[in-house]
């Protein structure tokens, strides 16, 4: 039996509660993500996938329902506890990269470790390792606006990995990139997933990208309308393996 990483039961998220515009964004969602799984959540814009990702990333609190992260209920956690969970358990990758513009690539990767209370030496060493992992070590002193989109996203991925999180939450990580650099970024996610065993949740509206993941959860109007294990996933990893061997 595989261990469960994300366990969501009957989750409801409403906004503008009590006002005439009250809106139910997530309707009775129940889903499970196992440890070490690479899952994608797909759906058209407005389907609630970003809100679901925010709830999974404990940036947002559900209106009702249960959410257990790594076996622990999230409902009653204080704001500071949720900050610490985001810091240590979760790594965010955004469509728009969200690097701190005034800080070098290195400083950006150090940031989560700074919040975690690591000393300078530890931060520096780990940040360099992670930048090497994404192939950005030579450009570590560059500011975000001196980097291309793909490079920014690679820095963002190494920042997401800073405190060895259990989950990587990626919201349209290739949405702002052309297909070639998008490919590089997706390969990085596979590499992280395969070599580090990190659980990866990819939120996208792009079915082609979803086809690369183990399981595809489809959202529509705030409900899960489809959930299937991807039969092509094995083949895909094998193909990637062959490609890597070929290169």
């Amino acid at each position: 039996m595989r261990e469960i990483m994300i366990d969501i039961r009957n989750l409801v998220k409403k906004v503008f509660i009590g006002s005439p515009n009250e809106l139910q964004i997530l309707k009775n969602i129940t889903m499970t993500v196992y440890k070490g799984e690479f899952v994608s959540i797909v759906g058209a814009s407005g389907s609630g996938k970003t809100t679901l990702m925010n709830v999974i990333g404990v940036l947002d609190r559900p209106t009702s329902g249960e959410y257990l992260l790594d076996g622990k209920p999230m409902q009653k956690k204080s704001d500071n506890e949720l900050s610490d969970i985001r810091n240590k358990k979760i790594g965010f990758v955004f469509q728009t990269f969200n690097l701190i513009p005034r800080n070098s690539a290195l400083k950006n990767v150090e940031l989560p470790m700074l919040y975690a209370g690591l000393n300078r030496q530890q931060r520096l060493q780990k940040a360099k390792e992670l930048l090497e992992l994404v192939g950005m070590l030579e450009r570590m002193y560059h500011l975000p606006n001196e980097l291309s989109g793909g490079e920014k996203q690679r820095v963002a991925i190494s920042r997401a990995l800073a405190n060895d999180p259990a989950i990587i939450l990626a919201d349209e990580p290739t949405g702002a990139l052309d297909s070639a650099t998008g490919r590089v970024v997706m390969d990085l996610f596979h590499k992280v997933h395969e070599t580090r065993g990190t659980t990866v949740v990819l939120v996208t509206h792009n079915h082609e990208l979803a086809e690369e993941t183990e399981r595809i959860i489809t959202l529509k109007d705030g409900s899960i309308v489809d959930e299937k294990t991807n039969p092509n996933y094995r083949t895909f990893t094998m193909k990637r393996g062959e490609m890597n061997a070929f290169h």
């Binding site: 940036l59 500071n80 985001r86 810091n87 965010f92 005034r102 700074l114």
Partner: protein
């Protein structure tokens, strides 16, 4: 650890908008600079006044005839040129009045000092010259003004009685017009003003620059007093009687108490004079008056500085609010990466404090420069005490915390989802 990181972060944030940061600081700079400058100048003024007045001594009481209903502080002599009216000869004190006065208080008066300015002129000896201010004095003058005799004697009672053409001159004058080694005593010196007068030198006093008459001129051109018997000086004066004289009390006399007694004495003398009265002032009370006057000025400047700091603080708050809005997305990202609200708050408060402290330091430097300049003009270099500087720095830190708190709190309370969505 986080604290140092916050400082580095704040500095890098300020570097992005140097001009804006600088403009934000100006209110703080002006506030702190004005406080420091006025403290410097105040210290200098106090030092200069007290040294000058202390040299006159606490046992000095000045009596002056002034117009009734004057509102000048505590019975002091009217500032020259301020008085609108001119007294008649009969309103002033005669030699007899003074003699009666001295006789009445002979147990407590050591001497009185009289002087009468004649005008300036030039002492000439061959091609050499010295600028002088001819002043008629009595024997008590030297004592009242702490003159130090280097040779000979001062103007004596017999010179005054005999209206003798003798003079006591400064060492500067001697150096300027006589060759070194000459014994000046008994020498004659010619004074050129609107006419030429010849005096015999009977004494030499040591010239000292005073705070009220700083010697900006070169040594050669310095104007020094040229003392002659007061009877001689009064010969050509329009007013033969005295408007001002100084009393030197014997040692051990309570000057403040004696001042009041003299006041009562002259109140009686001027009982029947509707227009004029005698003002009596003791040096000690004059010093405390000066000090309290300076205190009032300091309070006024402190109020101006406080307003300037308040406005500066509001400016800092305003720019911090702008900064929070500009960096909404950054704040959202930081929160997503696990920054606690308290950390975001600390980051913005530190930034506000840094703006204020940099402004404060610039203000201190500027204030010290202005203060040094002002103090130099007054002739008594003085600087603000380290305590004042320490207080200024503390005040700027407090301003930063106070005015940075609201924007920082706003940043800390931002909803991370809203913040990440912000364009």
């Amino acid at each position: 650890m986080l604290f140092i990181e916050n400082i580095v972060l704040a500095l890098s944030a300020l570097q992005v908008n140097k001009m804006r940061a600088f403009l934000t600081m100006t209110g703080i700079v002006i506030g702190i600079a004005s406080v420091i400058a006025i403290v410097c100048i105040g210290n200098s003024l106090t030092a200069s006044i007290t040294t000058t007045m202390e040299s006159m001594g606490a046992n000095t009481i000045i009596v002056s005839i002034r117009e009734r209903g004057g509102n000048e502080f505590d019975g002091g002599p009217r500032m020259p040129g301020i008085s609108a009216a001119t007294p008649e000869e009969s309103d002033l004190l005669t030699d007899e009045d003074l003699e009666t006065f001295i006789a009445r208080f002979s147990d407590r008066i050591e001497t009185i000092s009289l002087s009468h300015g004649v005008g300036s002129g030039k002492a000439q000896e061959g091609r050499l010259y010295a600028n002088v201010s001819v002043t008629g004095v009595n024997a008590g003058y030297a004592k009242a003004n702490n003159l130090e005799l280097l040779a000979g004697r001062f103007i004596a009672a017999k010179d005054i009685k005999g209206v003798k053409k003798v003079a006591v001159v400064s060492d500067r004058l001697i150096n300027n017009i006589f060759s070194a080694g000459t014994d000046p005593l008994g020498r004659e010196v010619k004074i050129y003003s609107d006419r030429i007068e010849t005096y015999t030198i009977v004494g030499v006093y040591k010239y000292e620059a005073s705070a009220f008459a700083p010697s900006s001129a070169s040594e050669k051109d310095t104007l020094t007093h040229f003392y002659i018997p007061i009877s001689l000086a009064k010969q050509d004066a329009v007013m033969k009687n005295y408007q001002v004289f100084t009393v030197i009390t014997k040692t051990g006399v309570d000057a403040a108490l004696f001042t009041r007694e003299i006041e009562e004495y002259f109140a009686k003398v001027y009982e029947n004079n509707a227009k004029w009265e005698a003002g009596v002032m003791n040096m000690e009370s004059a010093i405390s008056n000066m000090t309290s006057m300076l205190g009032t000025v300091s309070i006024a400047v402190a109020v101006i500085a406080a307003i300037s700091l308040l406005v500066g603080g509001i400016g800092v708050m305003n720019i911090m609010l702008v900064s929070v809005t500009e960096r909404t997305r950054e704040i959202g990202t930081r929160k997503a990466l696990g920054a606690r609200s308290s950390y975001i708050k600390a980051q913005f408060i530190v930034e506000a404090v840094i703006i204020c402290v940099i402004g404060g330091v610039i203000g201190i430097v500027l204030g010290l420069l202005l203060g040094a300049l002002g103090a130099n003009l007054l002739g008594f270099p003085a600087t603000a005490s380290p305590a004042v500087i320490a207080i200024s720095v503390s005040v700027t830190i407090l301003i930063g915390i106070f005015f940075g708190y609201y924007p920082a709190n706003k940043a800390a309370k931002l909803d991370p989802i809203e913040a990440l969505r912000y364009e």
